[in-house]
Structure formats: C-alpha cells, structure tokens
C-alpha cells in the first residue's frame, strides 16, 4: 500500500513480499516474492552473498519497462549443515522452601536461570557488538523483577516507566527477556546456525523462562485491566506455540 502512495507522488518503488497472496491482490508496482519465513525478508542471517542476491533481485525490478510486476525469487534459504546440536539448558536447582509460595519458587528459579545465562549473553554482546535487549529500558535484572511482580500480586505496585502504559511495558519487557535468552543461547558453540523452530522449541519447552511466561500470561489474562489482558493474549506467546500447545518445563 505504501508503494501505491509513494509511486503516485512520483517516487519509484520496489519491494520484497513475504505473503504472495496479499501482494497479488494489492498489486504494488514492483514486488519480489520470497519464500522465506516471516521475520526474514532477506532470507538468511550472516549470509551476505545470499542477502545480496535477494536485494539485487528486488532492486533490479526498477529497470523493468512496465508493470505491475510480481516476480518469484527462485531459491529458498540454504539448508543448514552440520550435526544437530543439543542446546545446553542451565542447571537450576529447585528453590524448595516450605515457607514460600509456588509463585515465589517459580520466580526464584526463573531468576537463577536468567543469571546463569548471563555469561552467554555477555559473550553474544562481545561477539556481535550489539544487543536487541533495550526497548523496556530496564536492565535484565530489573526486567526479571518487574515481570515477577505480576506473579506476586495481581498488578505490579508501580510501572517502572512514566512514558508508556503498564501493558506496553509488559510487552516490551517480555520482548527483551526473549531477546536476552535467544541472544545468549545462539552464542553457544554450534548454536548460531540453528533454525528458529529449534530455538523456539528450546525456549518454550526447555527453559524455566518459557514456563514462567506461560504462568505470567495466565495471570495477566485474568487482570481487570483490558489492555493488560490484550497484551497477555497477543504479545507473550507466539500463536504457533499456543496452537501446538507444547508442555513446557515443569
């Protein structure tokens, strides 16, 4: 749609399309459909040659004499090689204390796991020189405290930020938490080439954080704040994970 508006204003556009069905209806002037998974319009991370092929294919449409054009990119992303890698889940001793509640124990175990991932998160930061963790504007420790406060009471006593609503801050904190774990695990030997499916399976089925987020979602769905309910319903667990209904770490 943006392409129509820009082109009407006199600017030539070309675009990558991830959902051919939609592009076929909207009919932008020039589009390259790619068969990659949603979230990866250029195909493969850390594969400059492949990315450049995709990019040149899209830009090359600008030299076509007439349109509209919807061209299919011929190749899927290269198959990943190598033997399957067992993702190391940190050992987290159970937080047993008869005086504490189940929520307290889950939070304590979650925080212990998060701390034990820190060397790999730091390694990822050194290796890549960047982190996506940051939209909540909280440190990893503060993110854990903030998210745990939902389990301890029905609503946190206070929003750590004044510029966004509690529901938005919940969404940003969950995104930062997931980025922290995924950045950390992909810094481990052999894990940088794992598929998104393998990584999601690891996170949602094998980490305490995955179990914690399921609990968090359930609690926020019952909150009286409608925006928190919507955030819980849509922004904590991906739809495909909910649909496959995998168990999670006990």
């Amino acid at each position: 749609m943006l392409a129509h508006f820009l082109e009407e204003e006199g600017l030539a556009t070309t675009q990558i399309s991830l959902i051919r069905l939609h592009t076929d209806v909207i009919k932008p002037p020039r589009a390259l459909w790619v068969p990659f998974e949603l979230g990866r319009p250029l195909g493969e991370p850390n594969n400059p040659a492949f990315q450049k092929r995709v990019l040149m294919s899209a830009l090359g449409l600008l030299e076509a004499p007439r349109g509209p054009l919807l061209i299919d990119f011929p190749d899927d992303t290269p198959l990943l090689g190598g033997a399957p890698v067992m993702l190391a889940c940190p050992y987290v001793p159970p937080a047993e204390d008869a005086e504490t509640t189940q929520a307290d124990r889950l939070c304590k175990t979650f925080k212990t796991e998060m701390t034990s991932m820190r060397p790999w998160y730091d390694q990822a930061l050194k290796k890549r020189g960047r982190t996506i963790v940051g939209i909540s504007k909280l440190t990893p420790e503060a993110i854990a405290d903030f998210l745990c406060s939902f389990l301890e009471g029905s609503t946190p006593t206070q929003n750590p930020r004044q510029d966004v609503s509690l529901a938005y801050q919940l969404g940003y904190s969950v995104e930062d938490l997931k980025a922290y774990y995924y950045e950390a695990i992909t810094a481990q030997p052999g894990a940088d080439v794992l598929s998104s499916e393998d990584l999601d399976k690891w996170f949602w089925e094998n980490t305490v954080a995955g179990k914690f987020l399921r609990e968090l979602r359930g609690i926020c769905l019952k909150n009286e704040d409608k925006l928190l309910q919507q955030t819980a319903a849509r922004r904590i667990i991906p739809q495909k994970t909910l649909l496959t209904n995998t168990g999670g770490k006990g």
Binding site: A12, K27, I132, R235
Partner: protein, 154 residues
C-alpha cells in the same frame, strides 16, 4: 519454511483472510539505470534506535527516522506482533534491514548512492491509515534526491 502451506492451519487461515485493499490506478514511475539511483529503505519491522520512543498504536505515531549513517548494531525492534521470527534479526540486522548490503552495492557501483534518512513503520496497523504520512514522506525523500525506495516487510 517456504510459503503459507508450511504454516499451522489456523495461522494460514488468519493470513488468508486478512482484508487487502485494491487500487483502481496503477502508478508507474520510470527512472534512471539502477547504478545511477539514490536508494532509501522503508521498513515495516518497527525498527528504531534504542534511545527513540518505542512504537505505539497512537494515531499519528506512525514512523521513526533511521539516519543514513546508522551503524547496523544500533537498531532495536518494538513491533507488537510476536508471530514472526526474530531469531534471524537477533543474529544479523541485515536479514531485516539490509543496510550493510546496500552500502556494499553502493561501493561496488551497482547502485548510485544511499539516502540520508531511511524510515521505519510498525506493520501491525492498518496501512491505509498511513496514506497522508506516506505522501508527506514522499516529499521529504524527494528533497533528499531519492529516486528509488525499497520497501521491506517483516
């Protein structure tokens, strides 16, 4: 993953039923050879610099500015949807926002030059709401001598 056929049936059903507008006109702007063009990227991945405000759904709050000299290690994503892969982006920003590849194409002479400013929208919105903003951005892009816009979804 290749296409809709690989998705869970409910995800596929949702995407197949997203309403898409049609347009009566088919605008088509002719231009120079690619190697002479100045290129800007417009992403709908909800990208911005860490110090920028995250995206919201507030009416009128539709885009963030990405400076042309942005370092590829200095962008974050506050897209509200969790239903697309982010693990590629965690590992390499260029899989979503191909700024390093574009710079390489400028160095090799495959394109002319790169914009002073790129722009990012957050795609979990009705793009028809962006019409006036898009037309306004077109003017700003033309002031930057842009004659090719690459639109990249997520």
């Amino acid at each position: 993953m290749v296409s809709l056929e690989k998705l869970h049936p409910e995800e596929r059903n949702f995407l197949e039923n997203v309403p898409c507008p049609t347009f009566a006109a088919q605008p088509w702007v002719r231009g120079k050879k690619l190697k002479e063009r100045r290129v800007a990227i417009i992403s709908t991945a909800g990208l911005h610099q860490p110090e920028d405000r995250p995206f919201t759904s507030v009416e009128g709050d539709y885009y963030r500015i990405i400076p042309g000299d942005i370092q590829s290690n200095n962008l974050v994503m506050s897209h509200v949807s969790v239903n697309f892969d982010r693990t590629g982006f965690y590992r390499d920003l260029n899989v979503v926002f191909p700024i390093d590849r574009l710079r390489e194409l400028a160095e090799s002479g495959d394109i002319g030059s790169i914009a002073s400013f790129h722009y990012s929208f957050m795609g979990a919105d009705d793009p028809m709401r962006w019409e006036q903003t898009a037309r306004h951005l077109a003017g700003l892009l033309k002031k930057d001598n842009i004659d090719a816009v690459l639109l990249v979804p997520v």
